[in-house]
Symmetry: C2
């Protein structure tokens, strides 16, 4: 969740923490322990030297693909690693160049291509919008299209980014996404994407589905933030894991039908 | 050369000019005429609605590939079209997402992959650096690596970007690039990239090879700019075409040997 905390970006870079990834496991989805027989994933190489964070995991054709934000003095980009056993990992390098974050893979091919959601940012013209791209092999990406923009005056006016892999429903691909406003208040909403052509947004939350309301969501290292990178789907039930205030990891249960109903109203 | 001139980026967008591409031809490389039997290339679709500009052309396996800056309210990205006859063109869409410019293809495969130079920009951490990426098919790109950065206190301190396709020499790939300083003075320099592994910079100009000195290079629509997107190579002679002050198209002759000598000194 957290950005690497750099005291001095422009002089000699000095990090007080180093973002990295750890695998924790649970029998019930509530109490988690760390199994130390699984390796900790540390930053590797010159494109990850300030840390790796905000990892999404997609399960595709028998392998897990981890897409994450890779931060270094070269910029903020999207790295990818894959594994079939969580013991050994292949590092695929940067699949998207700076400035990019919030990268989530679709878990199946559509129209013969792999698809990805990502969030490039622009220093001028453009903004912090969600884009979609396609690939023949998960490693090389093209056919980039802007999928959805921020909305002026709304809860998602300053930046938006995909959560984890979209959920296939009979009505379309359901994507949970985060949106922030000018005050850096992060909420969660949803979009429904066309089943055959996911570059088409069918429906989008007018109001947030989920917003900071508990004390731990409102106050912390970076307060007023709910931000999700992972979920479990079991029939109608979505168990969503989310970061609160860049300090806590929380769990919420949502109904798929309720979300779809909220989009239709 | 020119950016689209937008009076009001944030309100109702209003362009006073629309960048587009025209083919001109010449018998001697000095006097050019426009053959109107060739089509004018206009922006197409929602990712090019503010114009297309700064086109580089690479000749690969019997086809010309045009990589150019595609500007729209979605951002500034890299579009690509290809042609085998300059009469009909295939539009490949955006091959790189925002914010990206200055995209030049290598004209042959290296290590079984196509390679590209590009210039993403970052709103925070990172900068306006030259990157390199690889592709199996010219359409989808991955394995992004930062190739070269701006240099503090130098003529190329604020932003750098590749010119056109690198030139194969026995010593390495010679790339002519532009660099700008904090005062937006644009000069041209060179880098020599490793022949087998072009992600490795062997040599780089300490001083610019070419800088604004003539009146038409110092004064114009956007003064103090020399900027090249095209060149002809004939033995030792490089005929470089370049924009001056975002207003004129100029021509200069350089010696390949002189450039290599300047890099070695």
């Amino acid at each position: 969740m957290s950005d690497p905390r750099v005291i001095n970006w422009n002089g000699d870079d000095y990090l007080t923490t180093m973002s990295h990834l750890r695998l924790v496991s649970s029998e019930d989805g509530i109490y988690f322990t760390e199994d130390t027989s699984f390796p900790v994933l540390f930053p590797e190489g010159r494109h990850e030297s300030y840390g790796i964070e905000d990892c999404r995991v997609a399960f595709i054709e028998g392998k897990w693909y981890l897409t994450y934000t890779a931060v270094s003095s070269n910029g903020v980009a999207v790295g990818m690693r894959s594994t079939s056993d969580w013991k050994s990992f292949t590092n695929h390098g940067l699949i998207l160049p700076p400035h990019n974050k919030d990268c989530a893979l679709f878990e199946e091919k559509i129209g013969g291509k792999y698809l990805i959601l990502h969030r490039p940012s622009s220093p001028e013209i453009g903004g912090n919008y969600i884009w979609i791209a396609e690939s023949p092999d998960l490693l090389h990406w093209g056919g980039h299209q802007c999928l959805a923009k921020t909305r002026r005056g709304s809860w998602d006016s300053a930046r938006i980014g995909a959560g984890c892999s979209p959920i296939r429903t009979p009505d379309g691909w359901l994507m949970i996404y985060h949106g922030a406003d000018e005050n850096n208040r992060y909420c969660l909403g949803a979009m429904l994407l066309d089943l055959k052509n996911p570059s088409k947004v069918l429906l989008r939350s007018v109001d947030p589905l989920f917003f900071p309301e508990m004390s731990y969501e409102k106050e912390g290292f970076f307060g007023n933030v709910v931000f999700s990178c992972g979920q479990l789907v079991d029939g109608d039930r979505i168990t969503m894991y989310y970061g609160a205030s860049d300090q806590y990891i929380c769990r919420a249960e949502l109904s798929l039908k309720d979300i779809l109903d909220s989009l239709n109203n």
